[in-house]
Amino acid sequence: MGLFTFRGGAQVPHSKERTEKKPIVNCPPPEAVFLSMRQHIGAPAKVVVQPGEEVLKGQVIGQAGGFVSAHIHSSVSGTVKKIHNMKVMGVDTTVVEISNDGNETWHESVKKIGDVADLTKEEIRKGLAESGIVGMGGAGFPLHVKLSPPPEKVIDTFIINGAECEPYLTTDHRLMLEGTEGILLGARFVMKALGVDSCYIAVEDNKPDAIDALKNAVKGDNAFQVVSVRTKYPQGAEKQLINAITKREVPSGGLPMDVGCVVSNIATVYAVGEYFEKGIPLIERVCTVTGSGVNEPVNLRIKNGTKLSHLISTAGGLSEDAVKVILGGPMMGNAVDSLDIASTKTTGGLLVLNEEDARIPEPTACMRCGRCSDVCPVFLQPAYISFYTLQGNLARAEKYHPLDCIECGSCSFICPAKRPLVHSIRVAKRQILENRKKS
């Protein structure tokens, strides 16, 4: 069987060697956690605690603000110190600060929910709505919503995404090695909720140890099919992964369920297992703190709401020449200008680059080499979108379908002239959407 893959994409340096062999360790508990009410796509959660109130670990402190939303639970036991209204990365956000009493006292709600055989489809979905679990691969889409497709959308394929194609990050990799059983456990609940009886676990072939571990664990179990996918960026992008495995194409502007698929990240599925087996809601996750800008790169199990500064000091602190801190990986992560912000449910990586690694060369003239078109996984022509956007000719740029861009960054990465292609496509997308709202 040939390797599964998609058309387009780029060979990016893996840069995973700093942490891929390091087991996950618990991050020392911070003195306080800062829990944002915006950790997911959809309506922000509503604060349901008051300053001064005692809270326990696993207790709901933010109630889902609608159907497409998710609860926020306290990741420590302690006292609600303050409720901040602040801007986090440019967005107005309510943040609940809870000082940690260090006792790790569990809330009474935290107990085994049930076995997969005993729960119905509806009970699993309802449970997930209480669990606060959202897509942990980056988008943060509430899981119970993803698993409740409208009746006309028949789901026949469930894919667990262990591609981890972002350079530097190794959280899914470590979880596949150390939490293999937990992943399979969680997967069974998701499969039951979806009404499918098998699933794929897709892993890039640069992680042979993870593939072996999974294959050993599922031996003799026909419900699971472990597939190696070619190591190529962005193999883990949802639509590209679906295409690699099923040859189906999610329609432009559509969702995976339009082609009968649901994709969940490894960490998300693992969290499902933790919830039903132990009743632990989504209050911690694994995060790789790495890069040339930290002294001791490490895979940490972190409490939701941990300040980035705490994570970095746990990783041996910043090196002297550290200049850039990125939430996530180098291809799609967001650079932050402050370490005073806290981790969320989707913080799977914290990458710190030193001066040399962070250097972005000055852009020069486009020579029309076409490499950006070659690597684009959705077959756009980034050079043209960028060219017309920079000219201010938005109407012309729109004819090149910028709204289909998944912002994977392959075009900017590959460009020999170092042009900020995906950046200008983002600008085009934002302006087009704004114009549409106005009219």
Partner: protein, 320 residues
């Protein structure tokens, strides 16, 4: 911390640069340049040096005068200069070098906006300009074996022989000499083997894909075979004895003037092959590479328009 840089993703870049691409093209041109110098000696060497130097100088002076960022370090002007030299007859007077370079760099490249913006290949544009302006100089070649000067390139011999002098076929150099490059022609076009080495280098370094050169060269061979009497050896001469390899590998593939998508490249290369053969078979001219390159250059925007790639998750190609 105020030191943190907050730029947008991606935060890493591939090592390849424009300069690196141009350097690879220069390296790929070295074998044919070397054969040209071996064949044609001092005057050819001086033309190469003058073309490269004057191309770089014109670009530098123009960008200085226009108060633009000087970009001669990207080596693109050097590439244009070298390709122009390889398109000159070895016995051309030295003053023709700066004239050709001026036309290539200033008129064709810079006046249209510089690197990537020109609508035709600068070196090819300059060659046509020189052929039209100085027809005698540009169509007399040295035979590297006899050192005689004549207009009788292998393709010219074939053309004349077809009109009415079958005995002229005896004057044709052997296919072997044509392949190795010991035939009359411009400095850089004669040696098929040297150009092939350059092509392999470009493919290995992933500077170009095989589509344009293979379809063009194969197309000229196949169409000549079909339209000119099903003669294998004449069809072979048609690709190895003129400018087909130099044009197909180094000029038709010019990024700025060829389509960026694969389908477009295939149509473009085949179109160039068709024009080359039509000129040769039905026209009075025994070459045709340069006009086919320029004509297809001009069709590139239209080809790209109609061959825009199908966007992922949509049914059909949608012209932009």
């Amino acid at each position: 911390m105020e030191l943190l840089q907050a730029t947008s993703s991606p935060h890493i870049r591939a090592p390849e640069t424009t300069t690196g691409v141009m350097r690879d093209v220069l390296i790929a041109l070295l074998p044919t340049t070397a054969v040209g110098l071996y064949n044609f000696g001092l005057n050819a060497g001086l033309l190469v040096i003058l073309c490269v130097a004057s191309s770089v100088l014109f670009e530098y002076v123009y960008q200085k005068m226009m108060k633009q960022t000087v970009s001669v370090n990207d080596l693109s002007a050097a590439v244009t200069g070298l390709i122009l030299a390889l398109n000159l007859p070895s016995n051309a007077p030295l003053w023709i070098a700066p004239i050709g370079s001026f036309f290539a760099i200033i008129i064709v490249k810079q006046l249209f906006g510089g690197l990537g913006q020109n609508f035709m290949n600068p070196a090819m544009g300059a060659r046509v300009f020189l052929v039209v302006s100085y027809p005698t100089i540009m169509t007399r070649f040295v035979d590297p074996i006899t050192d005689a000067i004549s207009q009788a390139t292998p393709l010219a011999i074939i053309k004349t022989a077809e009109v009415g002098g079958a005995e002229l076929f005896n004057q044709l150099p052997s296919l072997k000499d044509s392949f190795l490059g010991f035939i009359p022609g411009t400095i850089g076009e004669t040696s098929t083997i040297a150009l092939l080495i350059g092509l392999i280098y470009l493919l290995v370094r992933k500077i170009i894909t095989w589509h344009i050169p293979v379809i063009y060269i194969g197309g000229v061979f196949g169409l000549t075979f079909l339209l000119n009497g099903f003669d294998v050896s004449m069809s072979l001469y048609s690709v190895i004895a003129g400018g087909v390899f130099l044009g197909g590998i180094f000029m038709l593939t010019d990024y700025a003037t060829s389509p960026m998508n694969r389908t477009g490249q295939i149509i473009y290369a085949f179109g160039a092959a068709l024009i080359t053969v039509l000129i040769r078979v039905f026209g009075g001219y025994n070459e045709g590479v340069m006009f086919s390159v320029l004509l297809m250059n001009m069709l590139t925007p239209m080809i790209e328009h109609y061959t825009a790639p199908r966007v992922f998750g949509t049914e059909k190609r949608r012209a932009n």
